[in-house]
Amino acid sequence: MIILISVFILVLLLSIQTTFLELFSLGGIIPDPALIFVVYCGIHSQKNSGTRMGVLVGFLQDSLSGGLLGINTLSKGLIGLFFSALKDKIIVEGVLPISYFLFAASLIDGVIYFVATTSLMGAQVKGEFLFYQVVFFGIYNAVAGFFLFHMFDRSRKWMHNKFPNQIFLSI
């Protein structure tokens, strides 16, 4: 059941991301709830489930975007792995740590995407545009992510109360 609820949350997030999230666009930049979800899963899930969730979210995002298939699978998978591996060594609680790690994850995501598209697909992206886009994307994710983290926390606690014998994201 808990897996079904997690998948439902994921489907809802990606559907929102592809429909009306554009309404929250600031200077052409929109936040990435899928990325925030991967970071959250990386930190809060059991063992390597965060990595698997990262790969799954990345693949779904690839399928729902016009970019090259595999790029988001790589970036989200690496971000999931990064946070799964470091979750015992870092404390991600409070405004600043959450925002800081989301900003870092956004930078990784943006840089992987631009390196891949410019090298593999020959897309021409200007340096200052890349800087502006990635940094602003990171800041936006850091701010929006803090609120989403709280929502995910509440959902997780609700799930634990409802289904005490099941583990969050044990896929």
Partner: protein
């Protein structure tokens, strides 16, 4: 110590697996030249009803909110009358929306279809799932004869082209995407260049020689070269020109003639009819 070694080994295996899976997907994608991967089609098929539902819900909520904003400040004494007006206004609003929709469709079909083109209209049901790429989902697919590389436009001009088709939906790469390129020419001077996307709201016209006479407001149309966009379709208007003596080409910024951020319906050009 051995535990730490096992952990490092495990981490290395996971990392290699992620890179391998991603490279495999990239290779499949590049080798098959943007053609549909079965799993990708399944994901799009799975998400399209949810996207349609959400889009329709948001439209309804936004229409209702817009409608109620007009009623702010009305006196309480007229409550009963207001309820009646409310109901009538809602009906009128719905009719107006339908009317506007029909007007838009008529405009689309009239302006595009009259130029010997077979078109179908499609509704935009979603946008790209990532920040980086400029793409939209439309509610027409192979069931409606939509194929890859078909041109998508509005009455104002080119929007993009179809890059992926499933049974009921398709993905359209917008001309503002950094991977998009439209071989173009200036409508007046007939000078040539390539309109490329920047990943932002505007495009750039590349390879226009420094001595070419270009000014703000010049209209750009497709040249017909490149195999996707037919000749003479409106691409955009020049909004900025920068000439530097040391450069070979001019730096020209182009605003797409179609409003890519506001569009609700588009036309997919199925075929150019034989004018003879």
């Amino acid at each position: 110590m051995p535990n730490r070694q096992t952990k490092s080994k495990h981490l290395l295996i996971t990392l290699s697996s992620i890179v391998l899976v991603s490279l495999l997907l990239v290779t499949i994608n590049i080798r098959h030249d943007k053609s549909s991967l079965f799993l990708e089609s399944v994901v799009v098929w799975f998400f399209s009803p949810v996207q349609s539902l959400l889009t329709n819900t948001v439209e309804t909520v936004s229409e209702t909110l817009n409608y109620y904003f007009f009623l702010v400040g009305v006196s309480r004494e007229n409550e009963r009358l207001l309820l009646e007006i409310d109901r009538l206004s809602q009906e009128k609003n719905e009719l107006l929306e339908k009317n506007k929709y029909l007007e838009r469709i008529e405009k689309l079909v009239g302006n595009i279809g009259k130029n010997q083109r077979t078109i179908i209209t499609a509704k935009i049901i979603g946008r790209d799932a990532t920040q980086w790429s400029k793409m939209v989902f439309i509610d027409k697919g192979t069931n409606h004869q939509v194929k890859e590389n078909l041109v998508v436009m509005t009455d104002a001009g080119i929007v993009g082209h179809v890059i992926h088709v499933s049974t009921k939906t398709s993905k359209v790469l917008l001309i503002t995407d950094s991977r998009s390129a439209v071989d173009s020419l200036f409508q007046e001077t007939r000078g040539t260049g390539v309109t490329v996307g920047t990943g932002q709201d505007a495009c750039k016209m590349k390879f226009v020689p420094i001595e070419a006479n270009v000014s703000i407001g010049d209209r750009i149309v497709s040249s017909g070269l490149g195999g996707i966009f037919p000749k003479g379709l409106m691409v955009g208007v020049v909004v900025d020109v920068v000439k530097k003596r040391q450069d070979l080409f001019q730096n020209i910024t182009v605003a797409p003639s179609a409003d890519l951020s506001q569009m609700e319906e588009v036309a997919v050009v199925l075929a150019e009819r034989d004018s003879s």
